[in-house]
């Protein structure tokens, strides 16, 4: 038997990791005496929506875009920032678990919180949703792109973490005709699933199905895209290519039917079993294809048998 290391779940990581590990130490602050007329420049050049007001590392308040707008609307008479800042600041301590940060972000609907050292009250940094998600993914050693982090912000990851129903989306690009690199996406996906705590047998089934689909895209199309949505109860995989399409899907599904060229057969593929393998590994599979346009394959694998909810087509 192969033994698997215990994979941490996102929820567990939320308790294990502390605010200190995820916060942004790149501190941008303003002095209480700075004039309001300078604020716009500070916010804009740093692309931030608010900034802590400090004196000798002590947090005095926060001034944000909204304060700036109010000041502009009421005549923009120049004054010190300390006159307009909010002094009632909700903060986090560096030694609190990340879930507290997630909770507070949700509760207050703010974009960021100042982080303080508990004993000294010294301002150490700030923390945002993106900082938290970036840290969680990094800890899970999941490959991610910055643009995806920004997308998660709009998704339900926070609510999901709290409700123990994490939903994650992974995306991979397949390079067509590159036989040597074929399988890289399936391999990366399998590793990510295991790190998320997916049952090893399920991760293996998903990997086999996606690998066969990936091979087909490499062999028959010029490239494609894999999108994987991991829900608490099911994994949904979508493999899309803009290749030649399949003229007769029923025929393509027949075991042994293959149009694979000779070079592919010499490499051990093209036995006409791929689509059948996918079907065997999946709880449900749908293919749609348009000749000259491309092929789209949907694969569903249930992770908790009792509560499967397939999307109705």
């Amino acid at each position: 038997m192969i033994t698997y290391p215990k994979a941490p779940k996102i929820q567990e990581l939320g308790y294990e990791l502390k605010v200190r590990q995820a916060m942004n130490r790149n501190l941008i602050t303003v002095e209480p005496r700075t004039s309001m007329s300078k604020l716009r420049g500070v916010l804009r050049s740093n692309r931030i929506s608010g900034v802590p007001v400090t004196r000798e590392n002590k947090l005095l308040g926060v001034i944000c875009v909204e304060d700036l707008v109010n000041w502009l609307m009421s005549g923009a008479k120049d004054c010190a920032i300390e006159e307009k800042m909010s002094k009632d600041v909700v903060t986090l301590c560096a030694d609190e678990p990340l879930v507290h940060a997630i909770n507070k972000l949700q509760q207050y609907g703010f974009f960021h919180f100042p982080v303080l050292e508990r004993e000294s009250g010294e301002l150490l940094g700030t923390i945002t949703r993106e900082d938290i998600i970036r840290k969680l993914l990094q800890k899970l050693e999941i490959e991610y792109r910055e643009e995806e982090i920004r997308r998660y912000r709009a998704s339900h990851i926070f609510e999901d973490i709290m409700a123990d129903k994490t939903s994650l989306i992974f995306q991979y690009y397949i390079v067509g005709q590159d036989f040597n690199r074929a399988g890289e996406s399936s391999s990366a996906l399998k590793k990510s699933l295991k790190r998320l705590g997916t049952h090893p047998d399920i991760a293996r089934r998903v990997a086999i199905a996606v690998y066969e689909a990936e091979m087909n895209v490499v062999i028959y199309a010029r490239g494609g895209e894999i999108t994987v949505k991991v829900d608490p109860n099911q994994i949904r995989i979508e493999v899309e290519d803009s290749g030649p399409g399949i003229p007769d899907i029923e025929k393509a599904m027949r075991p042994g039917y293959s149009t694979a060229p000779e070079w592919v057969r010499e490499l051990g593929f093209g036995a006409g079993m791929g689509l059948n393998n996918i079907k065997k590994c999946a709880d449900e599979m749908n293919i749609t294809s348009t000749v000259g346009k491309g092929t789209r394959l949907e694969i569903y694998v249930a992770t908790k048998k009792e509560s499967v909810s397939y999307e109705v087509k």
Partner: protein, 120 residues
Amino acid sequence: MNLGKIRQILRAEVIVGSSPDREIEVCCACDLMSEVLSCVPTGSSCLLLTNLAHSQTIRTAEIAEIPVICFVRGRKPESQNIKLAKKNGLVLLSTYFSLYEASGRLYKEGMPGCSGSRVS
């Protein structure tokens, strides 16, 4: 059957990785990767005997969780594929016997196939 005994029966050379005490439960002798993917039982510790020494053999083993590959007829993968195997903790062997001879030798010594059948 442990890996040390398998090496002895096949007079196999180790290309990468080595754990002579590792138990192998079944053997799959095959050059069709789709077939390997579909017939190797989940959770079994399997040996793959094959003629094909390219990147997709290594990928197939990784995806289907096959811990050991033995290439027949003295074949060996290129160094980048050996690296890939190493990264995934696979054991790679190479034997001068053909697929038929290597299979026969192991079967005779009691190694079962993927369907569970073994010499009686």
